[in-house]
C-alpha cells in the first residue's frame, strides 16, 4: 500500500509540474499573494494620510483606526485569494488528476494491478496535497519577505507563526476543494460536467450559503472582513443552519483572527472545526468511487 501511495503521489507531482494550465493558476495565485501585501500597504498609507488631512482640517479628533495595525494586516487580501484563486486551482488539480487516467483509458489497466483503486486515489490526493503544500509554502515565504520589506525589519516570531498557521489552514481548505474536484472527476460521466459541477459547488459555498444567513450582497463576500449574521428571526434561523456550512466564511473568520484583522468577530474554534470537517469529509468522499462509473467511457 505504501508503495502504491508513493508511486502514485510521485506521478501526480510530475503531471502537475508538466501541465501548463496548472502553472498558470499557480502563477496567478503566488503573484496575487505577493501583490496583496503591496496593495494592503499602499491602501493603509493612503487611509493614514486621509486621517491626517481630516485632523489638520479640524474635521475629526478621533484616533486613526489603523494607527497600530499588525504588519500582517497588509496581507489581509491573501485570505480572499486563497478562497478565490486557491480553491479553483485545487479544484482544477483534483479534476485533472482523475480525468487524466479516464481520458487515457488506463483505469482498467490500473485496476488489473494488485492494489485497490482506493489506494490509487489516496496516492493522487497525497500528491496534490504535496503540490498545494509547496505552492502555499512558496506563497507564504514570498509574503513574509514582502511584509518584512514593507516594515523594514524581519517579522517577529509571533507574526511568523501566525502566517505559518494561516498557510496551514489554507492548505486544509484547499485539500478539501481538491477532494471536491477529484470526487466529480471520478463520478461524472461527462468531461464537461466533471469541470463545471465543482465550480458550481464552489460558488454555492462561497456566495450563496453565506448570503442566505447574512443577507449580505454577493460581492461584499469578497471583502476580507467576514459578514455578521443578519437581523430578524428568519435570518437568524437560516444563519444557524447555513453558517457552519459556509466554509469559506468560516475560513475568513479564522484567517482574520490569525492575520490580526481589527474588525474580525466570530467563533474561531467553530470556524476551524468547520474547515477541518469539510476537508476530512471531502478527502474521504474523493477516495471512494464506484468501480462501474470510473471504468465507463468518458463522454465529452
Amino acid at each position: 500500500m505504501r508503495t502504491t501511495l508513493s508511486v502514485v503521489a510521485k506521478t501526480e507531482i510530475t503531471h502537475a509540474l508538466r501541465e501548463r494550465s496548472s502553472h498558470l493558476l499557480v502563477g496567478i495565485f503566488s503573484a496575487m499573494v505577493v501583490v496583496s501585501a503591496a496593495i494592503g500597504f499602499q491602501t493603509h498609507r493612503t487611509v493614514t494620510r486621509i486621517h491626517e488631512s481630516l485632523v489638520q482640517h479640524g474635521l475629526t479628533v478621533a484616533a486613526n483606526p489603523f494607527a497600530d495595525v499588525s504588519p500582517l494586516y497588509y496581507a489581509r487580501n491573501s485570505v480572499i485569494y486563497v478562497v478565490m484563486i486557491g480553491s479553483l486551482m485545487a479544484i482544477v488539480l483534483g479534476v485533472e488528476s482523475t480525468l487524466r487516467d479516464r481520458r487515457a483509458g488506463v483505469v482498467s489497466l490500473i485496476l488489473s494491478r494488485p492494489s485497490a483503486f482506493t489506494h490509487v486515489l489516496r496516492g493522487k490526493l497525497m500528491g496534490i496535497g504535496l503540490v498545494l503544500a509547496a505552492v502555499l509554502l512558496l506563497s507564504m515565504a514570498l509574503s513574509w519577505t514582502m511584509l518584512s520589506a514593507i516594515v523594514g525589519s524581519p517579522l517577529g516570531l509571533e507574526e511568523t507563526l501566525r502566517l505559518g498557521v494561516f498557510g496551514m489552514l489554507s492548505w486544509v481548505l484547499l485539500l478539501g476543494f481538491a477532494g471536491v474536484g477529484m470526487m466529480f472527476g471520478t463520478r461524472s460521466r461527462h468531461e464537461s460536467t466533471a469541470y463545471v459541477a465543482p465550480f458550481v459547488a464552489w460558488s454555492v459555498i462561497a456566495f450563496v450559503l453565506p448570503q442566505m444567513g447574512t443577507a449580505a450582497r454577493p460581492i461584499s463576500l469578497l471583502n476580507p472582513v467576514p459578514t455578521p449574521a443578519g437581523g430578524g428571526s428568519l435570518a437568524s434561523w437560516l444563519s444557524y443552519i447555513v453558517h457552519p456550512l459556509s466554509v469559506t466564511e468560516q475560513f475568513k473568520t479564522v484567517s482574520g483572527f490569525l492575520l490580526q484583522e481589527p474588525y474580525v468577530s466570530g467563533d474561531v474554534a467553530g470556524g476551524v472545526a468547520s474547515v477541518v470537517v469539510f476537508a476530512l469529509l471531502m478527502t474521504v468522499l474523493s477516495t471512494r468511487s464506484r468501480r462501474k462509473t470510473i471504468t465507463e467511457e468518458l463522454d465529452a
Binding site: 501548463r20 494550465s21 498558470l24 493558476l25 496567478i28 496575487m32 496593495i39 499602499q42 491602501t43 493612503t46 487611509v47 494620510r49 486621509i50 488631512s53 481630516l54 482640517h57 474635521l59 475629526t60 478621533a62 483606526p65 489603523f66 489581509r76 487580501n77 480572499i80 485569494y81 478565490m84 484563486i85 479553483l88 482544477v92 480525468l99 461527462h190 468531461e191 464537461s192 460536467t193 469541470y195 463545471v196 465550480f199 458550481v200 460558488s203 454555492v204 456566495f207 450563496v208 448570503q211 442566505m212 443577507a215 450582497r217 454577493p218 460581492i219 469578497l222 471583502n223 476580507p224 472582513v225 443578519g230 437581523g231 430578524g232 428568519l234 435570518a235 437560516l238 474588525y263 465529452a300
Partner: protein, 322 residues
C-alpha cells in the same frame, strides 16, 4: 444568412436540451430569486424595527422621530444583479465553451464542413443561437424578478421602474454575451477544449473577481464596516474635499475598476436601478448623461469579443490550418 439561422436554430435546441446548462440556469434563477426574498425580508425587518423604535420614542415623549426608512423596491434587485455579474458570466462562458467543445470532441465539425456551408456562416449561426438563448433567459429572469418584487416584496412598480428594469436587462444581456463569445473564442482557438476551459475560467477569475476586488479593497471608505467616513462622522462635502487631495490614488483605483467589464456592467445597472444613491429616483436622461461612456465601452467590448470569436472559429476551421 439562411444557413446561419439553421445553425442557430439547432444550437438553440441543443442548449435548451442540455441538462448541465438547464441545471446551471435553474441554480442561477434560484440564487437570484432567493437573494431578492432575503433582501425583502431584511427590508421588512428594518421597517418593523424603525416603527417599533418610533413608537418607543413616542411613548417616552420624543416628538421629532428619526428620518423615515424609505423603501425603494428596485434596490432589492442588487443581489440578483451581482449574481448575474459573477455566476451569470461564468455560466455564459460555459455555454460558449459547450457549443464549440461538443463539435470538437464528437468530431462532427469536419462532417458539417463537408456540407456547402462557410465557416463564417457556421460560426455566426452559433453566436446567433447563443444570443437568442441568453435573451430568452434574461427576459424570463427579469419577469420572474418583477413578479417576485410585486408579490413577496409588496412593491408597486410604475412605468419608469419597468423601463429601468428593461434597460438593465439589455445590459445584462450584453454582459452575458461578452462572456459567451469569450467562451466561443477561447474554445475555438485552443486545440484542446479542456485547456480552453481552464484558461477561460482563469480569465473570468481575473476580470470578474480579482480586479473589482482589488478596486473595492483599495477604496478608503471600505476599510471599516459601515464606511470610514461614516465612522469618523464626516459629512459628504468634507469627504469629497479631502479626497480631492488624493486624486492620483483614486484615478488609479478607478482605472483598475473600469478595466473590468463586470464593473462597467455593475455601474450601469446600479445607476439604472437606483442602487447607487446618487441616481435613485432620477430620470433616465440624467442617468444616461453619466453612464453613456460605460454603455459604449461595454457594447464595444461585445463587438470585439464577437469579432474575436468569429475570427478564431474561421481560423480554426480553415483547410490550410488543418
Amino acid at each position: 444568412m439562411r444557413k446561419s439561422l439553421v445553425i442557430a436554430r439547432k444550437e438553440l435546441r441543443d442548449l435548451s436540451r442540455d441538462p448541465v446548462i438547464l441545471a446551471l440556469l435553474g441554480f442561477l434563477a434560484t440564487a437570484s430569486l432567493l437573494s431578492l426574498a432575503v433582501a425583502s425580508n431584511d427590508m421588512k425587518i428594518q421597517i418593523a424595527e424603525y416603527n417599533s423604535y418610533v413608537s418607543q420614542l413616542a411613548m417616552s415623549g420624543v416628538t421629532n422621530p428619526p428620518p423615515v426608512v424609505e423603501f425603494f423596491p428596485l434596490q432589492l434587485m442588487r443581489g440578483g444583479v451581482e449574481y448575474l455579474e459573477i455566476l451569470g458570466a461564468l455560466f455564459a462562458l460555459l455555454s460558449g465553451y459547450g457549443v464549440i467543445a461538443k463539435e470538437k470532441s464528437r468530431g462532427t465539425l469536419d462532417l458539417i464542413l463537408t456540407r456547402p456551408l462557410g465557416a463564417a456562416a457556421y460560426a455566426s449561426g452559433k453566436i446567433i443561437g447563443l444570443s437568442v438563448f441568453w435573451c430568452v433567459i434574461v427576459i424570463a429572469l427579469n419577469l420572474a424578478t418583477v413578479i417576485e418584487l410585486m408579490v413577496i416584496g409588496g412593491a408597486q412598480l410604475d412605468a419608469l421602474d419597468v423601463t429601468k428594469i428593461a434597460l438593465a436587462a439589455v445590459f445584462s444581456w450584453i454582459n452575458l454575451m461578452i462572456w459567451a463569445t469569450v467562451g466561443v473564442a477561447m474554445t475555438s482557438y485552443f486545440g484542446r477544449p479542456q485547456t480552453a476551459l481552464v484558461l477561460s475560467i482563469a480569465l473570468w477569475l481575473m476580470i470578474v473577481l480579482i480586479i473589482p476586488q482589488i478596486g473595492d479593497t483599495m477604496d478608503p471608505d471600505n476599510q471599516v464596516p459601515g464606511g470610514l467616513f461614516a465612522a469618523l462622522s464626516i459629512v459628504k462635502a468634507d469627504e469629497l474635499q479631502v479626497l480631492a487631495q488624493f486624486a492620483t490614488y483614486d484615478t488609479i483605483r478607478n482605472g483598475l475598476e473600469v478595466s473590468s467589464v463586470s464593473k462597467l456592467f455593475e455601474r450601469i445597472t446600479f445607476a439604472l436601478l437606483g442602487i447607487k444613491d446618487k441616481y435613485n429616483l432620477q430620470s433616465i436622461a440624467l442617468i444616461w448623461a453619466d453612464m453613456w461612456g460605460y454603455a459604449c465601452a461595454l457594447s464595444s467590448v461585445l463587438a470585439v469579443t464577437i469579432s474575436l470569436s468569429l475570427s478564431a472559429h474561421i481560423r480554426n476551421t480553415s483547410p490550410r490550418r488543418k
